[in-house]
Symmetry: C2
Subunit: 202 residues, 2 copies
């Protein structure tokens, strides 16, 4: 049984946490529903995400089950407000010390730096914030990896990269064959369009 | 100005609509915020998605602005309950007749078939529901395309495929260079793990 806790806050980037959420919950479904994924926020009120989606947390700080995996998304909230919110940084630091795996997606790495877990570690973040993260000091920014695993810390590049790192994690926890089954279930055989510069017909 | 309406309902699959939501809202942001993405549901109460995430709709049926793009996600609700809910199928049929582009993700194609817009068309769906969709009749299931564009109808394979079709659509609406900028912003350079069968080290 694995319990995943995904932190949400105002101006969290939607796909940063919903991508991993989908991976973790499909993983649980394929394992007969034995695992749990929870959205956790400072208060129990709905969160307004970075692009306007309003999501209800499952638990507030201080009222959630113990976690095996902590995930921190990015977004404007992770860069601007929450690094200066000691309730959030304190909860991240305390929770990170208790879980088996700590992860962030996109600019969640900046919040992870403010809270502590990213200090002194090799870390990935959104391409446009690599310089800003490096300027904070006491961190090694890896610029050419989709996600970076350093000890029990897994950090990802921007937004969509959280899906790849979440798949890596469910494979690490429950086996490669299982991770492949999750990938097949969400039919994650990506085919981004417009990768070629070809004539537009018609 | 493009207005995107994303239908949500109980047991909609989370990533089916949040993937396209991220693409549409980042597209708008990069265009100076001129576009709008809205979550629309039958009633104004929070929706409980297929994997348990609770999301607030922005508008209920009958109380939303006119739309340019309609998107219908899949999930258990799209297969079991909503095809038999005339309020939802009626709204989809009526809305599809008014918008410029109609799209579905994953098993949203089954709901699109019940509501009408997928009848007589070439359509993609989740790999495990291709036979079920074909058995409904009056539809051509395309089994080897990530997404299928037939006239103004865009249907996608399972779950994560909605991101690729949404990127295609913002490119069709606002240009390939713009779609590429959206892709860069969400750093959609997918790297699914465990594609190779290699020795596990350490």
């Amino acid at each position: 049984m694995t319990t995943y806790g995904l932190l949400i806050f105002d101006d969290a980037e939607e796909l940063d946490f919903v991508g991993p959420w989908e991976v973790f919950t499909v993983s649980s479904m394929l394992r007969g529903g034995v695992d749990t994924a929870l959205l956790i926020s400072e208060k129990s009120a709905p969160v307004r995400c970075s692009k306007g989606m309003r999501v209800m947390p499952d638990h507030a700080f201080g009222a959630h089950p113990s976690l095996d995996v902590l995930l921190v998304p990015g977004g404007r909230g992770a860069r601007e407000k929450e690094p200066h919110n000691p309730v959030v940084t304190g909860w991240i630091a305390e929770t990170a010390a208790q879980v088996s795996w700590v992860s962030s997606v996109c600019t969640g790495a900046l919040l992870m730096h403010a809270a502590g877990p990213a200090r002194g570690r090799r870390v990935a973040t959104h391409w446009s914030y690599e310089d800003a993260l490096e300027a904070l000091g006491d961190v090694t920014v890896v610029r050419d990896a989709r996600y970076v695993v350093d000890g029990n810390l897994i950090t990802s590049q921007g937004v969509s990269a959280g899906m790849d790192s979440a798949l890596w994690l469910v494979g690490r926890l429950h086996g490669r064959e299982h991770a492949r089954a999750v990938r097949r279930h969400i039919q994650y055989e990506p085919a981004p369009p417009y990768l070629a510069d070809e004539p537009i017909i018609g």
